[in-house]
């Protein structure tokens, strides 16, 4: 039953009658902190199985959006609808963070938040074990099913560590890992909860070029091999442009553009938003953006042209397991 539903759900919207092509939908989500409006009527629809990037200048409200989706913040207005594979609709606004996690949304943090005094493997085991139900009494008595659960969590944690390529670091303390490895470990911890939707908050921040490249591949594999939809916040435009199916742009809490990477790059409102930003980093990002744009159009006018990428992806959608 599950595979069937899954395949049906994975197929992108064609007839419109297909069950839940949209995994996540926000409508009119508004979040205020005193006088500051951090999210301003954000409408966003995310297709099942896609990689959607959210970009925007510093303070645009990207992290606030993640926090609203995962229950860390309570938006004053709006609705957040999540449709799990199993069917049904879940309203996420105002849910407790751990309930959101159990529904199949996992996240990483912009400022890495690992359990530093635990080993890398233990970090992941904690995540695996949130899906277990063994009670304290059977653990204390050492009953067989409790031991089995412990072995299962060990095995599963090892699997996940292998998947993200950290199997050689499992016994290191999380705090002693390199920055790039810590980011990877955060992803591993999120994946260990077997999410349907993974929220990555600037996973490439502070990583070196090789790590960035590995990360790009990891995100692709999470998407294709595990069939997990990915919502990605990222400042690194090259990464966003190469990995994302679609891009949404936030500025001052408002969604100012949405579309394929190509479309968004050309959008005047987006360029304006980035040019308007005074920040140096942002200026660089703009330079990146413009350079990318120029290079692409000079070399091969069709390469990752907006509409083609969209088509390519919708085909991918069906091939995905």
């Amino acid at each position: 039953m599950t595979t069937e539903t899954k395949r049906a759900a994975d197929r992108p919207a064609e007839g419109g009658a297909e069950p839940h092509p949209t995994i996540l939908e926000t409508s009119g989500v508004t979040l205020r902190f005193g006088g500051l409006t951090s999210l301003d009527h954000v409408d966003l629809a995310m297709r099942r199985g896609e990689i959607l990037a959210i970009i925007g200048p510093n303070g645009a409200g990207k992290t606030s959006l993640f926090n609203s989706l995962t229950g860390a913040y309570l938006p004053q207005e709006g609705a957040i609808t999540y449709r799990p594979r199993a069917g049904g609709e879940e309203e996420l606004r105002g849910r407790k963070p751990f309930r959101v996690s159990r529904l199949g949304l996992a996240r990483t943090f912009q400022n890495i938040r690992l359990f530093g005094a635990l080993t890398a493997l233990e970090n992941v085991k904690i995540a695996v074990e949130t899906r277990q139900r063994t009670d304290a009494v059977s653990i204390m008595l050492g009953l067989p099913h409790a031991r089995r659960a412990e072995r299962d969590s060990d095995r599963r944690a090892h699997e996940v560590m292998r998947f993200v390529g950290l199997e050689h670091r499992i016994n290191e303390l999380a705090a002693s890992l390199s920055y790039g490895e810590q980011r990877r470990l955060e992803i591993a911890r999120a994946l260990a909860t077997e999410p349907e939707l993974l929220l990555l908050d600037e996973p490439a921040a502070g990583t070196n070029p090789t790590e960035k490249h590995d990360l790009e591949e990891l995100i692709r594999r999470i998407n294709t091999e595990l069939g997990v939809s990915v919502l990605l916040i990222e400042h690194d435009m090259r990464l966003v442009m190469s990995v994302a199916d679609r891009v949404a742009v936030l500025n001052f809490g408002r969604k100012i553009a949405e579309g394929t990477p190509g479309q968004v790059q050309r959008d005047p409102a987006v360029i304006e938003a980035y040019l308007g930003a005074s920040d140096e980093e942002e200026a660089e990002a703009v330079a990146d953006l413009v350079a990318d744009l120029d290079a692409e159009h000079a070399d091969d006018p069709e390469w990752r042209g907006g509409d083609r990428a969209a088509e390519g992806r919708s085909n991918d959608g069906e091939e995905r397991p």
Binding site: R113, L114, L118, T130
Partner: protein
């Protein structure tokens, strides 16, 4: 002062300037007594004076300066001054050589000592052997000590060890500050009294003391959940006050609800006994049989709790302690796990209460004052929060010390030494006597600021501002 302020700008400007500069230089030169080294000497001399006064003669109301005079002239002062001077000299002038000697000694010790340590770590059989030896030693311990120390072992050490093991779950593992722990101890003790028919109010049916234990566990579990469910969402300091309040309620009930509890007059309680038909035994006045019983309880609880520590529950507690926001985002039901820790701690306390009442054969409300909550907490912290061997050792040492001092120092001074030990310990070794490895790492990370999160704001924030701090 104004001269100092002006010097940099007027430094090289003619004769007036140079005079000013000289003045400034004079002002800037620190007097010898302002040298930090001598400041420390002065502070140590202050400590010596206070120490000599505090540990010396007692005052009398006939001659109010008697004690001060005696202490300022007696040998105690010179002992104190000598000790402080020695500390100062070692600290200021011999620091480098001592440190060198220490490190060479350690390096020299890497040979056999380090090898022994690796063998110890590798070989679980060796550890089992050592634990068995320790257990055998503990079993025969009552034969090796006097009656007085047997009483201390049974009435204090064993009871407080039970309490500390329970409190360690709450404070050490789940990271919640509980100042009302003795309330559950009282509930356990009064459960024992009630169900054995020793209170003014008769129970529906009388039970054996051992049969009361599961009832006390359940009663404390329920009480713990009732208290915890609405309050565990609170941050550490608020929770401490709530538990303190809860303790006060329970204590005042024990004291003032005389028709039920007997109040300060108390009630006598049946002692432990078993009657299996073919075998019956009655615990009497000899402390040793109680000791073995308590040892049994302690070992059983330790086995259960150590399993818990290294399970999903223990890991979830650590996660909550380290970063509650991240734990919740990962799917850990933080409130439930906190409640679990709270309930487990409460029921352990309840068991200790039953054992206590059934040993003493008598309880009254004054056995459950808040001081004991604080004492248990200090044992746990002194030994090392979250570390079972640390908690056991810490409790044993801190109870042993005042008893040991009973014959050495004036009776009313005993707890002062305990306090001084706690102060010194918390300054120089805040992680405790035998800290848990996880806790040491946490402390290190907090001190060096190398915690994995980039922002300093850490775990204990209220849930509403949870989530990522904007950077």
């Amino acid at each position: 002062m104004t001269a100092t302020d002006n010097t940099p700008t007027t430094g090289a400007a003619g004769p007036i300037g140079s005079k000013r500069a000289a003045e400034a230089a004079r002002l800037r030169r620190t007097a010898w007594y302002a040298n930090p080294r001598f400041k420390r000497l002065a502070a140590l001399m202050g400590v010596a004076l206070v120490g000599a006064q505090v540990t010396g003669e007692q005052g009398t109301n006939r001659d109010i300066f008697h004690a001060m005079r005696e202490n300022m002239t007696g040998p105690g002062l010179w002992l104190w001054v000598g000790a402080c001077l020695l500390i100062w000299v070692v600290r200021e002038f011999l620091r480098a050589p001592v440190a060198n000697a220490w490190s060479t000694a350690r390096r020299a010790g890497t040979g056999p000592a380090e090898r022994a340590r690796t063998v110890w770590r590798r070989d679980p059989r060796l550890r089992m052997l050592a634990l068995t030896a320790l257990l055998v030693f503990l079993i025969v311990l009552p034969f090796l000590v006097s009656r007085h120390w047997q009483q201390v072992l049974v009435d204090q050490i064993a009871i407080y060890v039970l309490l500390a093991i329970g409190l360690n779950v709450v404070v050490g593992w789940a990271g919640m500050l509980d100042l009302g722990f003795i309330a559950f101890f009282a509930i356990g003790a009064y459960s024992a009294a009630f169900w054995t028919g020793s209170l003014p109010v008769a129970p529906p049916f009388e039970l054996n003391n051992f049969a009361v234990i599961p009832i006390a566990v359940i009663t404390c579990l329920v009480a713990g959940v009732l208290l915890g469910a609405p309050t565990l969402r609170l941050r550490g300091d608020y929770l401490a006050i709530v538990t303190l309040g809860f303790h006060e309620i329970v204590y005042l009930m024990a004291k003032n609800w005389v028709e039920f509890t007997g109040g300060t007059r108390g009630a006598s309680v049946d002692r432990f006994s078993i009657d299996l038909g073919f075998f019956s035994y009655q615990w009497g006045l000899d402390p040793r049989p109680y000791y073995w019983l308590q040892l049994g309880f302690i070992v059983a609880l330790l086995v259960l709790f150590i399993r818990l520590e290294h399970s999903r529950v223990g890991r979830a507690w650590t996660a909550i302690r380290e970063d509650e926001v991240a734990a919740a985002a990962t799917g850990v039901d933080t409130v439930r796990f906190k409640l679990l820790a709270f309930a487990i701690g409460a029921s352990t306390s309840g068991v200790a209460g039953v054992v206590y009442a059934s040993k003493l054969g008598f309880i009254n409300s004054e056995f459950f004052i808040v001081l004991f909550s604080v004492l248990v907490l200090s044992y746990v912290i002194f030994g090392g929060m979250g570390s079972i061997p640390g908690v056991l050792l810490g409790t044993a040492i801190l109870i042993w010390l005042p008893e040991f001092l009973r014959d050495t120092v004036p009776a009313q001074d005993r707890y002062m030494y305990l306090g001084a030990l706690l102060v010194i310990m918390m300054i120089y070794r805040p992680q405790g006597l035998w800290p848990s490895r996880r806790r040491v790492r946490e402390l290190h990370m907090a001190e060096e600021g190398t915690a994995t999160r980039a922002m300093p704001a850490a775990g204990g924030r209220p849930a509403t501002t949870g989530g990522d701090t904007p950077s």
